[in-house]
Amino acid sequence: MEPMILDMLLKAGLGLIILGMVLNIAGLLTWVERKQSALMQDRIGANRAAIFGFTALGLLHGIADAVKMFTKEDCMPKGAHRFIFNLAPAISVAFAMAAFAAIPFGNTLTLFSRTINLQVAELDAALLFVLAAMSIAVYGVILAGFSSNSNYAVLGGMRAASQMLSYEMSMGLSILGLVLLNDTMNLQEMVRAQGGTWLGFIPRWGVFTQPLAFLVFTTAVLAETKRAPFDLPEGESEIIGYFVEYSGMKFGMFLLTDFIETVLAACLVSVFFFGGWQIPGLHATGFHFPWGTTIPLPPLAVSLLGVAAMMTKVVFFNWLFMALRWTLPRFRYDQLMHLGWKILLPASIANVLVTAAWVAWRG
Amino acid sequence: MPKLTIDGKEVEVPKGTRLIEAARKLGIEVAHYCYHPGLPIAGNCRMCLVEIEKNPKLQISCHIEAADGMVVKTQSALAKQGRQNTLEFLLLNHPVDCPVCDQAGECKLQDYYMEHGLHDPKFDDNKVRKSKKAFPIGPNVMLDTERCILCSRCVRFTDEITKTHEFGIFNRGDHSEVGLVPGKSLDNPYSANVVDICPVGALTDRDFRFKCRVWYLGKTPSVCTGCSRGCNIEIDYDRLRPHKKAGHDRIMRFKPRENSEVNKWWICDAGRYSYKLIDHGRLVAAKQSGIDASLDAALGEVAGLLAKAREQGRSGRIGVLASPDMTNEELFLVRQLFREELSAALAFEMAEPAGHKDDFLITADKHPNRAGAREILGTGLAKGEELLARAARGDLVALLVFHWDIAALAGADRLAAAARGAPLYVFATHENRTTYAARFALPVANFAEQSGTFTNCQGRVQRIAKAVEPLGESRPAWKILCEFSDALRLGWTHESAESVFAELSASVHAFAGMSWQTLGHAGATWKQGQPQEAAAAR
């Protein structure tokens, strides 16, 4: 009994750490968004929030935002469905965070002769879990639109629903190729399968085995985050979407959901296509370079390096998504649908067929 | 009758007509400063130069008499050049202080500079400065000798029209300046007319000084109500601020309007400055015993009272004191309503102290429309005092008073006695002791706030026009009378005072054949002797 309770405690602790990390990254992303866009556009960016004259490069704006959100008046439109109206932002944010349970942040870590898998939920169907969690997060959006008793919110919810469903399809299909290749739905296993190299220097990452799937998945997952260039459900600057009637922290939760989903997207892209915590050339015993040099490392260091590699990849993809968001203009609605149904979906189906044929031919 | 050609157009004028007048007959305006149709010819400004064929030099058109076969060119290059040179000389020592000059905007120097001048001044010496800038020369007039072009109109006016001889031109050459004869002050009763005739800003009105720029003014033709002369005036009101605010009048000034039959070009100072009464001390809301009350309630009470009196057959005991301050139209409605319909006790005159008069324009009768009232209401009526006495005896069911300030004329005691005997309703433009004593005082519009006609002492019917909106709740008396007629269901359909006048001209002999169109803004006289005959016939 005792090891099981300890395991549970360890997993709970790991979950808390990851949750805190994710929330922090999401919070920092508000700062990154401001500063990165400012640098890209030759501006300075938010730099006014200060405590005793100390601005910390504008980092305090995130805190100021939180204070503002919490102290704002919480309005509910007349005739709104009180329960669902309150539930919708909670669904959005909760399921976006739940998806992180299945993400492996590192290989197993051996501490005090206990082996800890750096993945909160060791699910064999982790892939399905992640997709399911992301799908339910869509419900938050749709419910928010429908419970607001506002035509604009309903229209925003409709736009969100059609966009999310269109891209969810391609997203699921594009990963199918990876599942076929790696023969597993466990994300940890999938990452492990991406270890090693071809010819000694090309890592066996998903991006090289499934390049088309990478493009399709990245596009689809960006669409799932509802951020530019796929921000038709929100259109904060003018059309306003499903959360038009929300205020205060409930609005803040939708905002937070966007950033959490961005982190999630970065995690998924890293795990599926960039080897997660894998570092090319790093084996369980240390670095083995193709020309024969070896640097032996203790297992703990290897594990921690893996975690660092994962974090680096996540940060890079967050940066990339931000850069994309501030580079590309918004799609027109027909372009959005065209891309989803006429390009991504056929491409992902073709990818699955070709992969299946390859797997069958290889035996 | 000499026949001549001016600018290619032939015209025949009486012998002795000056060229400038002959040209005016053709609609050709020759620039001029010293010439004024109401004053003797001086010919000293030299501005009205025209070219006459077979004449070696340009001639001043204000002095040359028209002769048969003359060919005059006012727009030839030579004539234009001559006038431009003259203007340049006139402007030599003019200070060009238009920004501070009240004449700016109606200044002939400005007008003719735009028309004839636009020259580059060749004079680069210092201008001659006079000893004093603007200074008052009488109660109403400021003099600025620097602006003067020595046209001598003002001198001729005081010599020939008022014969008071205040002005003279002193010194010689560029030192000459217009000024008062030592020991005199410009305080005759027509003094401010020199402001009107001064073509430049040398003589300006002290009352109008700095009050308003003239291009802000809207102008409405009207008639002075100061006395029975009925001098034609122009009401100049502030177009930018048409609504009365504290400390700001709507009416800026009166200007005389030319009417050769009545006042020629002139007006007395008392009439000129009577514009202040239009906005000051006005009754702007209905008053019940001196306290603000609802106008509708007051009108309703009077109308109900009239209807009740007619029903009970007591309408003969309604006392109505109309006024010679009312327009012909209003007096006619009074006649129709109170005499024809109600057979009420009617009066329109009260005993008044004799007013000041002179042998020029000012008459003793200080009401603008006594002739009209006598013609319309008849001369055989009771005096107002009799109505007061009847009211005091309790013989009247109500006493309606238009305009008269009874307290001032008959005394507060008789007013109080009358008010005790019968309910007193006063229709007044201004607040006074009578409006305080009345059961209801109802505000009516004054002559600047409505259209209509007055008949002056010569029997001349002249139109007034609305210049500004009635102040506060006040409305024209003819509208109030029409409201009463509605309450009595008389079926009147007067939409305007003009339609009232049409009915008046149809039913009152002296006004026969007149309409507002035929009256124009100069008015028309009824046939002499007609009023008395008509009155006798009645």
Binding site: L39, R43 | A134
Partner: protein, 184 residues
């Protein structure tokens, strides 16, 4: 009619262009160049290097004001004579020409007969003013100018937007104080 119509055919995109990947890549290159370039400049500034280069075009407004062009029209002021009096003689030309009717002048007698006229009150309603500068051009006395460089015009009430004579004579005064609305 159709003679002057020029029909422009859109170029068909190639298959590769249709994926948008080259365009997205080109866009990312541009924005990233700015990002890393500016980042490098900002970091250099921390170490006191490359001080002459600016990492941004931002003006930190209340502290750092943007230089105004010489002809820029800002809040009005009334000019003074050598004696410190106003140059204005209340000729009302500015009031007359003002297309927004935002100027209201009341004239009075000047004690010096050589000057004769001066404003008793001079109000400009900045809430109505359209900053056309006609009043400056029309003034015969060079008495009004719009060169105070003051753009900080805001008030809590419409009455607070009205400048009176004192404010126009002393443009450095903080006139649009919300606590003290300017009386008309």
């Amino acid at each position: 009619m159709a003679a002057n119509v020029k029909v422009l055919k859109r170029r068909e995109l190639t298959w590769w262009e249709n994926t948008f990947l080259p365009s997205i890549y080109a866009g990312l290159v541009i924005t990233s160049r700015h990002f890393f370039g500016n980042l490098a400049i900002h970091i250099s500034h921390v170490f006191g290097l490359r001080k002459k280069e600016r990492g941004s075009t931002t003006y930190q407004y209340p502290e750092e004001k943007r230089p105004l062009a010489h002809r820029y029209r800002t809040r009005h002021r009334l000019m003074k004579r050598d004696s410190g009096e106003t140059r204005c003689v209340a000729c009302m030309l500015c009031e007359t020409i003002c297309p927004a009717h935002c100027i209201a002048i009341v004239a009075k007698e000047h004690p010096d007969p050589d000057i004769e006229k001066m404003p008793a009150s001079f109000d400009i309603d900045l809430g109505k003013c359209v900053y056309c500068g006609f009043c400056v051009e029309v003034c015969p006395e060079d008495a009004i100018r719009m060169d105070t460089g003051r753009l900080d015009i805001a008030a809590y009430s419409r009455g607070g937007m009205i400048l009176n004579f004192d404010h126009l004579m002393n443009p450095e005064l903080p006139v649009l104080d919300p606590a003290k609305p300017v009386a008309r």
